[in-house]
């Protein structure tokens, strides 16, 4: 499968099944397009047949010199012989193995507080309450959750625990106690906990910062960007904005972590479709690690992303990519989570085929110990899988999540980005189609654009 596109003056050709990415000139771009448009996918053998060259000369001869077309074809043959172009799918046959694989639980999202000190208008957790009541997780429930994780993690050594909410700093003593308990248990069971916390920063102080820097592998700091954008969607319950209180705390924390192992994470809505300005605002505030996500919401919400917003969003990603290249060249580069891509390494095929791991490797735990496939399903009773006392009591839910992969969905099967997103977010699919076995098209469009931009940036920076 070939995907080719032009972006920022670069002609890019992706060979999906080898993962190879090429920057080509105009004649080669057109030659590949012609060859890719033929009924049967070319092989090195068929490309050498005289008819192929003749057809190319006939169809492109009015645009390019014959010698250039012949040269380009010869490059294409070399790439094909080298397994870098027109490579066949050798992964679909592995899918049964991936589906049958024995999974272990390796990550938990602990809903340490179903309560929040902000009242963000788009909150999928409904101001922390998740379609339920306000509650804080007790140390006892948290301990059982860590015990459950250790007991269900098989030989996996690295275990991830994210303290999530609501706002986890509202139950800070329990967070500290659970970290201490985890550190004690990891020695006994030869495990290693990687703790992370996702916070709005309201309660952040020096004592918390010190603890976070000592114990947390990553910190996700929620902020939406420019003051007016942030304060419109992330007010306190009394309606005043949170920006002025939070930004200095986040700046101090990011510096204290040497600008590593954290993310400033924003949400964009249709109120700020010019979100590249929010990312640049983060950069101007001195942050180096950032992410901004499209809002998750019902189509009827006034701030929800609509299909008609896509052209503007695509334009913003292009704009952001170009600005990031400029900043990089000026020595003021920064990371944007969704433009990070490792073309020479990255995850293995099992990871790329199996998706995010929700419902199997990754589970969410409510304050009272119920288990759900991920934080976004919490409170939806049909996805209640079990609890920390009895473990998984509905393994059929895990089986359903395990069966979901890029080859089980037609829309993914034919998508060039399938090995980069690995099938998309199942919660998004469920929210829009009532099933986890589908895709959220608007999200897919954005994902494909982000992959294209990330690769274009590699091309641009490779020139330096």
């Amino acid at each position: 499968m070939i995907h080719q596109y032009r972006n920022n003056g670069y002609n890019i050709v992706m060979d999906v099944y080898s993962g190879s990415v090429h920057v080509v000139d105009d004649v080669c771009y057109d030659v590949i397009a012609k060859l890719n448009g033929s009924e049967t996918e070319p092989t090195a053998g068929t490309l050498k047949e005289t008819g192929v060259k003749d057809q190319l000369l006939q169809s492109l001869g009015n645009k390019y010199e014959a010698s250039d077309i012949e040269d380009a074809l010869s490059d294409v043959i070399e790439l094909t012989e080298g397994g870098q172009l027109f490579v066949k799918d050798t992964y679909e046959c592995m899918i049964e193995e991936v589906k049958k694989r024995k999974t272990v639980v390796k990550a938990l999202c602990l809903h340490i507080a179903h309560d929040c000190n902000l009242a963000c208008k788009y909150c999928f957790a409904e101001e922390g309450e998740y379609h339920g009541r306000r509650a804080l997780m007790s140390f006892e429930v948290g301990k059982k959750a860590l015990d459950f994780l250790i007991a269900n993690s098989g030989n996996r050594r690295n275990l991830e625990v994210d303290f999530f909410g609501g706002e986890p700093l509202m139950n800070w003593q329990v967070v500290k106690d659970l970290v201490a308990y985890g550190r004690e248990q990891e020695k006994i069971h030869n495990k290693h906990f990687r703790f992370t916390v996702t916070t709005n920063g309201v309660l952040l102080n020096d004592e918390i910062q010190e603890f976070v820097n000592k114990e947390m592998d990553n910190v996700v700091l929620s902020l939406d960007g420019r003051k007016e954008i942030n304060d419109q969607m992330r007010p306190f319950r009394n309606g005043t904005g949170s920006y002025d209180l939070i930004v200095p705390k986040f700046q101090k924390l990011a510096e204290s972590r040497n600008q590593e192992k954290y993310y400033i994470r924003g949400t964009f809505t249709r109120n700020n479709l010019d979100f590249s300005n929010d990312i640049m605002h983060f950069a101007d505030l001195g942050f180096k690690q950032m992410s901004i996500e499209p809002v998750v919401g019902d189509e009827s919400d006034p701030y929800a992303i609509r299909e008609e917003d896509l052209p503007k969003i695509m334009e913003e990603y292009d704009k952001l990519a170009k600005m990031m290249i400029e900043r990089e060249k000026e020595g003021k580069g920064f990371n944007f989570f969704h433009f990070m891509i490792d073309l020479n390494g990255g995850p293995c095929v099992a990871k790329r085929l199996s998706g995010c791991g929700s419902g199997t490797e990754y589970l969410a735990v409510t304050p009272w110990g119920d288990l759900y496939p991920c934080h976004q399903f919490v409170g939806q009773e049909e996805f209640l899988m079990g609890n920390v006392d009895d473990g998984i009591v509905k393994p059929e839910i895990a089986d359903d999540f395990r069966s979901c992969n890029v080859y089980s969905k037609d829309k993914c099967r034919n998508c060039f980005a399938k090995f980069y997103c690995s099938g998309g977010c199942m919660a998004n699919s469920y929210n829009f189609h009532g099933t986890i076995h589908d895709t959220y098209e608007i999200g897919c469009e954005m994902q494909r654009k982000r992959v294209e931009c990330a690769i274009m940036m590699k091309a641009a920076l490779a020139e330096e």
């Binding site: 993962g19 090429h22 380009a72 994470r265 996500e293 390494g345 293995c348 998004n428």
Partner: protein, 46 residues
Amino acid sequence: MKHVKSLNKPMNSNLKKSGCGECQTSCQSACKTSCTVGNQTCEQNK
């Protein structure tokens, strides 16, 4: 090659290296509302 500049080597070998499971959970690190796998790091390459 005159017309092509490749940004990487074929990834088949890397793609085939399979499944120790020690890597990070995809959505845990930053996004929490979408799924991106291509930017994850293989634990074996660290």
